[in-house]
């Protein structure tokens, strides 16, 4: 029997009940939101379960939603089941003021690099990461460049001014 999104959802709801929310299937990939404290438990369950077997971390990144109070940063995990060729997307939300997330490095070695990258660009603190420091940007950088609200560069300032001029004209 092939692994269907409905079955995965059913198993997750059986195990975690009301904790998991916002089930969606954009582009056919099952996506859902978990409480930040449960990220490891959910992934461990998906990893260990004999039928689900999500044992590969395809991608890990963050998204900044500046207007969502107390849930500005989303950390997104893309998991993959090699045997059934099924993908899955897990999101957790944390406030930008205290972006603490448990590290997935104990479960997936590949999370080491990706969590450092996510820290570098979004400032997400992965609690328990063995070497959480900048990986791509210069060490002297004092901000997290992919979070929104940092001052606009000269090109963006010009674009904003041009847009204003056009708005005034038409």
């Amino acid at each position: 029997m092939s692994l269907t999104n409905d079955y995965i959802k059913q198993r997750l709801v059986e195990k975690f009940g009301e904790e998991l929310t916002s089930f969606e299937e954009p582009f056919g990939i099952l996506s859902f939101t978990a409480p930040a404290a449960l990220n490891l438990k959910v992934m461990q369950f998906l990893y260990d379960d004999e039928e689900l077997q999500f044992r590969f971390l395809t991608d890990l990144t963050a998204v900044h939603y500046p207007h969502q109070a107390d849930a500005e940063l989303a950390v997104v995990y893309h998991l993959y089941n090699f045997r059934e060729k099924v993908r899955l997307r897990l999101k957790i939300f944390v406030p930008v003021a205290a972006p603490k997330v448990f590290t997935a490095t104990k479960l997936f070695e590949s999370a080491n690099w990706m969590e450092r990258e996510t820290y570098d660009f979004y400032g997400v603190e992965f609690v328990g990461h063995p070497n959480l420091k900048r990986i791509l940007n210069v060490d002297e950088m004092t901000y997290f460049p992919m979070t929104q609200g940092i001052p606009a560069g000269k090109t963006r300032r010009v674009l904003i001014r041009m847009t204003r001029c056009l708005d005034a004209k038409y």
């Binding site: 791509l136 940007n137 210069v138 950088m141 460049p145 940092i150 560069g153 000269k154 090109t155 963006r156």
Partner: protein
Amino acid sequence: MARPVQHNTKVKMVEIPKGYSGEGFFATTFDKAIGAARKNSIWPLPFATSCCGIEFMATAASHYDLARFGAERMAFTPRQCDLLMVMGTIAKKMGPVLRQVYLQMAEPRWVIAVGACASSGGVFDTYSVLQGIDQVIPVDVYVPGCPPRPEAILDGFMRIQELVGQESLRRRHSERYKDLMNSYGIQ
């Protein structure tokens, strides 16, 4: 039948610096003689990081022929070079490397920033790109263009030649030059 080997009969000579000449002697100043020698034997160090580097390769190849200016001798060790040619986007992480290369060059040394990126960051107005190499090292000539055509690079090179030929031998010991170096934190 024509000979198989043809000789270039249109050899151009560099102009002799101004001076006094008579039968069996020629007198001029050290500034001019050394300037003429230096400007016609510049050893460039190509620091090519992106598309401007490709344009530079065309500049150095036979069609545009940088060798006409006495600069065919590229060297890839900074210690032998006179002219640092920075061609392409310099990421902030590359900044210290570029500075190190500059510091390893012996005086007198010149720098040419080729293209929009090396001069000002160009279209890469972003957190990871150095907004012009003059934030880390002093620059003598800026060549505009994205990328500049080989003619523009040659024009920039000829302007460097002008600077080299006219430079006073005392310039590198002057207070003004020391102030410039100090403003970049170079002793």
